[in-house]
């Protein structure tokens, strides 16, 4: 098993290299540089040129690339030109918010999907199963931003059950119980949007896994020994079917990242996705490159995680 893990990690190295090259090339194509915004009729062009030279913007591209990767590895992401702050700090601040959002989304996702998947699989072809399949089907077809907006309109503005913007109300002391509760309260709507959309894969996988297991030999053996069906489900089938679900976690992370851009924009939630959109709008390119790199890295990490979990729970799948 360790061989598989090592092989899988080795595959990630060229992927990271290509990602960094892609991001770097994109950054080179971004119009303007940090100093073009500072140009006014009174500025001396020579002074701007001097600043550019000092920042190394006139060096050949490969030198800039090597320097950029070197800085990246050391966690030195440059400075945001809009906020005049270190990009690392800026992202770190927003990352905690996105992390909380992701965490609650994943908890909600699995607590909706696992029971529904189990019920649909156990009582397949019943009315219950058919409505669960229909639900998973609809949630698959709805685009994220449409569901997010409908939730916001319905639960946020019309019914006024949940706050419509931000991550925490003003005037609460950080660290108090009320503050934490308020944070969670703000998270419920965006997190459930994500959770509802993410359930499809887990439900369908679990359902077909359980239906397939019903006709397998180990289940027949258990039944012929006289074990009641209820126990066969809880002790045999569910255990086998639930394990591969763990592998979905990696893909869920990838999905969460893509969704965070949309969901955070809709709910005005100050996380990394919103930071990305704001950075794009203000052409804050050091923030953009850092975020694209970070998202790409996390997505690759997510798929690595999925593959490793998969190879642990299902030894038949091993990379050669």
């Amino acid at each position: 098993m360790w061989k598989t893990v090592v092989r899988r990690v080795v595959i990630m190295i060229p992927q990271l290299f290509v990602l960094s090259l892609l991001v770097f090339i994109l950054a080179q194509f971004m119009p303007g540089d940090p100093y073009s915004g500072a140009i006014t009729p009174e500025t001396d062009p020579a002074r701007i040129e001097e600043l550019r030279e000092k920042a190394g913007l006139n060096d050949p591209w490969y030198e800039q690339y090597v320097r950029w990767v070197g800085n990246l590895v050391q966690g030195e992401l440059g400075k945001s030109y809009t906020f005049q702050r270190s990009v690392g700090d800026l992202i770190g601040e927003k990352a905690t918010n996105t992390l909380w959002l992701s965490l609650l989304s994943v908890i909600l996702l699995y607590s909706i999907a696992i029971p529904l998947g189990i019920l649909a699989g156990r009582y397949n072809n019943s009315k219950l199963d058919k409505s669960i399949v229909l639900y998973s089907f609809i949630s698959y077809a709805i685009p994220t931003f449409v569901l997010g907006l409908l939730f916001l309109y319905l639960f946020g503005y019309t019914l006024r059950w949940f706050p419509t913007v931000g991550s925490v109300s003003v005037g609460l002391d950080p660290g108090t119980l009320a503050w934490y509760w308020d944070k969670i309260y703000h998270l419920i709507l965006p997190a459930s949007t994500f959770a509802v959309l993410g359930t499809t894969g887990v439900i369908q996988y679990l359902r077909s896994e359980i239906i397939d297991a019903k006709s397998l030999d180990y289940v027949r053996t258990a039944r012929s020994k006289g074990i009641p069906m209820r126990k066969v489900y809880s002790k045999h089938i569910f255990r086998n079917s639930l394990l591969p679900i763990a592998a979905f976690l990696g893909f869920t992370i990838t999905g969460l990242l893509g969704g965070s851009i949309i969901i955070e924009t809709i709910f005005g939630y100050p996380g990394m996705g919103q930071l990305f959109i704001n950075a794009i709008l203000s052409r804050d390119y050091s923030v953009i490159t850092a975020l694209v790199m970070l998202y790409g890295f996390l997505a690759l990490l997510g798929s690595l995680l999925s593959d490793i979990i998969m190879s642990i729970v299902d030894p038949r799948i091993r990379i050669e």
């Binding site: 595959i11 060229p14 992927q15 290509v18 990602l19 892609l22 994109l26 194509f29 971004m30 119009p31 089907f137 609809i138 698959y140 077809a141 709805i142 685009p143 994220t144 931003f145 449409v146 907006l149 409908l150 916001l152 309109y153 503005y157 419509t164 913007v165 990838t254 990242l257 893509g258 851009i261 949309i262 924009t265 990305f276 959109i277 794009i280 709008l281 052409r283 953009i288 975020l291 694209v292 998202y295 790409g296 997505a299 690759l300 997510g302 798929s303």
Partner: protein, 301 residues
Amino acid sequence: MVSVSNDKNSNIASSPPTGFQVIFREFIKDKLALVSLIGIILVTAYVFIMAYLFINVDEIMRVSLRDKYAAPGEKFLLGADQGGRDIFGQLVIGAKNSLEIAIGVTIITSIFGIIVGLICGYFGGWIDNIIMRIIDFFITIPSLMLIIVFVTIIPKYSQYDLVLIISLFAWPGIARLVRSKALSEGKRDYVNASKTLGTNDFIIIFREIMPNLSSILIVETTLNFAGNIGIETVLSYLGFGLPPSTPSLGTLVSYANNPLILQQYWWCWLPAALFILIMMLAINFVGQAFRRAADARQRLG
């Protein structure tokens, strides 16, 4: 897929149903898919006919402050936006633009994805290995983010550029699926027999393997079409799709970014949002019916 008939009188029943008969039966059994299919055809035809023959875009987009936020009623079927522009007209034009982009992306990515997938799956070897690594990479990286960056750094982009940018990130999924199917199909006896007869590889791929995958390709193309509507509308919603002067379903929904409009002037954004929702559901219902028709185990009829 052999249908055994005990009825000696019917000769027709003993021959296996053709692809179109299977699809037809599936739609007769599944009323929801049938209604969806008819609905999609009617709505698409209506949108294109109206947009090209009867609606003048300049007239729709002309600002008339007197009609600012006019409620749905006699003058405007679905009301007007903050510039007094008819929402219904914008919806038709927007749907036309969104559908055109989705159709464009679907055609480009299908052709490219199917060709790459078939060739990789049939030949295998190191080329397949390298291309699959690239495809895996493309599938993993956050494409929405990269599309947004692309759109931002291209100075003046048109509808066509947008189609190409989206296609760049949408083809690998199709290629991967087609490859896996072509891989298993390529090991079948008929392919081996054809190889032994000395048939040209490309004739085997496109004249012999591809027709056998056609049902899966139809399913995938349908579902991808829905997905591409989703990508275009979300990009336009975020402000990185079609330019603001060109209405798209996404730009209409993005009116909702203003909390005032979201709350009080629901007719500005809700029709477009519901249009997207219903269109996506309908296309997916049709796609599922195709999928069942393609897979004998899941058939209803």
